[in-house]
Amino acid sequence: MRSIQRTFPLFVTALLLAVGIVQLTIGYGEVRQASRSVADRRLRFVDSVLVDLFRSSQQRGRITALAKDSAIVAFLRSGGQRGREQALAALRRITLDTATNARLELRDFSGRVLLSTGRFALGDSVLVSPGADSARFGPLIRRDTVLFFGVAAATPGTEQSSGGATEQAGGIVQQIGHLQLNERTRRSLTGLAGGDVAFLFGNAAGDPWTDFASIVPAPPANVRDSHTPTRYERGEAKRVIAMAVPGTPWMVATELPTRLIVAPAQAYLLNMAPIAALIVILGTLIAWWGSRRLTAPLVGVTRAAEAIASGDLAQRVPPGRDDELGRLAQSFNTMAEQVSRSHHHLEAQVAQRTKALEGTNAELESFSYSVSHDLRAPLRAIHGFARILLEDHHAKLDPEAQRLLGVIDQNTRRMGQLIDDLLAFSRLGRTDLTTGPVDMKELARLVADDVQRAESDRNGSLEIRIDPLPPARGDRGLLRQVISNLMLNAAKFTRGRPSARIEVGSHPNGDEVVYYVKDNGAGFDARYADKLFGVFQRLHSAEEFDGTGVGLAIVKRIVQRHGGRVWAEGAVNQGATFYFTLPGEER
């Protein structure tokens, strides 16, 4: 059963849950968005710091300056022939105050090394095509676990003519540096930007890359190309921003694990979810309490109404509130009072009418008793004395007088029969039914035997066929009378037939059973079918077929008292079928 008392708190709970879920979802999304943009700003900032760091490298200025140093320019212009000591001294000056364990090389334009200091001889190649005005950085180069890079500058261009051919006088100053890759470097860089950020550094074009502690694979091309926040996997999901170092072939990338970005949003969820749950629970409790408070009086009224509906008219609702619910209880009680009063009034009336009816019934009883007794006595006297006249004074009566006495005789007999039938019919309405299971087939067979015996002197054959009949529930004696009346009727109206046939059968029809008695006798005009079952209604003259016209009325009354129906089908000279229904035996 649906109940407001239950559905209202459920509704409130559902509403609060929905609001809570929406609130948490939106909050989570916003916190995540905020922490993502904070992370992006931080990554970009760190990127730009790094880029500045690499771009403003002092090495470039130093090499540019070195390429313009007069001693070196002189040494290189002489093709390494003169001023070697001075050049070396200039180189040493620089080498001494550079922290990187670099190598400085002076080469001529064909790449031949004229002079060098420091470690890391990487061969004869010029690593960078030197810039004319300022030094240029070359791409990172990897040798095993070490990353190198070159910085190179050319001496200011001077043309010398020697024997008609113009040749470039001067050379290249190249420094080869290497990156300090160790955990300390990485950690000190990381410390600069705050714990969880990782830095990557490498060639914009691809490998090699480093995280300043070791060589790492280059980030995928999409990371390197996009310059916008990108997600990628390196051990775990990371958010990364790459930025090219202007004026160099290098690139920096700063990354942050996604989990750290999402962490605040998750923390928000973790903090807010219990609060939301608490609100939902509190809301549910309040709604439950409120709906109980609101519906408890309604439940009282409902219970009282149900009690009254099931017959307990004394039921009332306890009053005691002065709001709408209190007024409802009050008007309910008033209504119940009125219902109760009119019910008692009705009962009194019914009792009064019943008493009146009982009186009428008793009067009817004594009336029919009088009819039974007092009407028959004079009739018997008429008949008796007419017979005595015929028997004792036969000789003195002429034939006409005898015929007239015969008429009296006939009519008194008929009157007696009418009285008997009428009494039987009126008795049917008054006697109680004694119901029980009735074997209809056996009953039909007994009646058939009676009918055959009564019709033993008829002209022509009489065949009675009885189909299997389902048992019924009813008054055995009265049901026997039904079958008997119908079969006697059938026998009567087939009397003229040389081979008369009566058929008793049945078929189920929903909850009831239809029984029928069918004959091939005189039949009747179907137009008067509804008159067949009326008292004293006859469709044939007394000369054709005898009878008082009460038999079928009795059949109808008995069947109706069993809760069934009767009807008939037939046509003149084509037989008749009389149907009656009885409730199925299961009931």
Binding site: S368, Y369, S372, H373, D374, R376, A377, P378, L379, R380, A381, H383, G384, F385, A386, R387, I388, T412, R413, M415, G416, I419, D420, L423, R427, T431
Partner: protein, 139 residues
């Protein structure tokens, strides 16, 4: 009204019925010792002097003036001296309550008077024959 002996006591208020009954009995030669009472009181008087003759059968109508037939039946069957006398209720009523009460009071038979005279005569003479000739009352 023979002082010497009464075979049949007929209690019947309707003179016509009484005559028809007597005639039916006469046809079987059973009418010699029939005593007729015209109401219930007369019937009770018949038995009240104690030393009176004891009939072999009483034919009792139910609807009687003064004392009702059922009352007569109740008193006769309730009296030790008369309760052995066979009483046949001979009445026009075929009402079930009458039949039940008559048998409950101890009636030995219950005959509904047919309207048809032949049937009536046959019933009366059969009853007379049975109770006078065939039945053996206790001595």
């Amino acid at each position: 009204m023979s002082p010497h002996g009464v075979d049949i006591l007929l209690v019947e208020d309707n003179a016509n019925d009484a005559e028809l009954t007597l005639r039916a009995l006469k046809q079987r030669n059973l009418a010699n010792q029939v005593h007729v009472c015209r109401d219930g009181a007369e019937a009770m008087d018949f038995f009240s002097n104690g030393a009176g003759p004891v009939p072999k059968v009483v034919l009792l109508d139910l609807k009687l003036p003064k004392v009702d037939g059922l009352e007569v039946l109740r008193r006769l069957k309730g009296d030790a001296r008369t309760k052995a006398i066979p009483i046949v209720v001979l009445t026009s009523s075929r009402e079930e309550p009458d039949i039940e009460r008559a048998y409950a009071l101890g009636a030995n038979s219950y005959i509904v008077k047919p309207v048809d005279f032949e049937a009536f005569a046959r019933a009366v003479s059969d009853v007379g024959l049975y109770w006078l000739l065939l039945n053996h009352p206790p001595q």
